[in-house]
């Protein structure tokens, strides 16, 4: 059942997953950002892996409260967060199609939360 406690855990898990992905991408470099080296790169990787670990334990804990098919639908939030974080922190562009996709995902998650 979706309570305030489980909702907060779902939000935290997806935020941690998106943060982890962005930090790992930041550590490995991209077309727009050069690859960091040495201690800085290790630091980005460490934050990325730590965030992923937070996601993993939250997710494992949430599996006790939800049917998997319902819980997994909330994973749809992470592509949205990653797209927004990529635009904000990695300088990537969000297209009109991506905004439309975001709307579809948000609509889908609302339906899953209600039914």
């Amino acid at each position: 059942m979706l309570t305030l406690h489980t909702f907060a855990l779902v939000a935290l898990s997806q935020l941690a997953l998106a943060t982890g992905e962005v930090f790992l991408k930041h550590a490995s470099g991209s077309d727009l950002k050069p690859i960091a080296h040495g201690a800085i790169q290790t630091g980005w990787y460490t934050i990325g892996i730590a965030s992923m670990s937070i996601w993993f334990f939250c997710w494992l804990h949430l599996m006790r409260f939800f049917e998997l098919n319902r819980l997994f639908a909330f994973e749809g939030v992470s592509p949205l967060l990653v797209a927004c974080a990529s635009a904000l922190f990695l300088g990537e562009r969000i297209t009109i199609r991506a905004w439309f996709a975001s709307f579809l995902i948000a609509l889908g998650i609302t339906l899953v939360a209600v039914f």
Binding site: M63, E67, N69
Partner: protein
């Protein structure tokens, strides 16, 4: 002028993008595409194993406030973590061989595979409204995966 023509003819042929070759791209890139699809399948297996492990009592329980870590001592969670590491390895092998948007789009098939596995393996019931929501999420993640420029 002759020199210019020669230099143009000698210019290396640019590797075509998927849109330029259509179906031939899939034939040529079957190996990384297969890896990404296998990655989605392994992720689904991992999710199901983690769910089974999370709902069974672990072999060893840690005292509070570390109680939430106890689930990792379950056999099924252990196998699930191995499956996750396997899927991550396949993803890392496939990623340099495929455009990111294509790999990300293909990997979103997990949004179809996981509910299917829930229904077939875990015998969960999926109401029509939730199924419709899942289809919207699948369509959205696919569209998001293929929306990069």
């Amino acid at each position: 002028m002759a020199k210019t023509l020669k230099s143009v003819s000698e210019r290396p042929r640019v590797k075509p993008y998927p849109s330029e070759e259509g179906g031939r791209f899939i034939t040529r890139q079957w190996f990384p595409i297969g890896l990404v699809l296998l990655n989605a399948l392994l992720s689904t297996v991992a999710e199901v194993l983690l769910k089974i492990g999370a709902t069974h009592p672990p072999a060893f329980t840690l005292p509070e406030p570390l109680g939430f870590v106890s689930a990792v001592f379950s056999f099924w969670v252990g196998v699930g973590i191995i499956a996750y590491l396997g899927s991550l390895s396949l993803w890392l092998v496939a990623l340099p061989r495929l455009p990111l948007h294509l790999a990300y789009g293909l990997s979103s098939t997990v949004h179809l595979l996981v509910p299917l596995a829930c229904w077939l393996v875990l015998h969960e019931t999926i109401p029509m409204g939730r199924l419709l929501g899942m289809l919207f999420i699948l369509a959205g993640t696919l569209l998001l995966g293929f929306s990069h420029e």
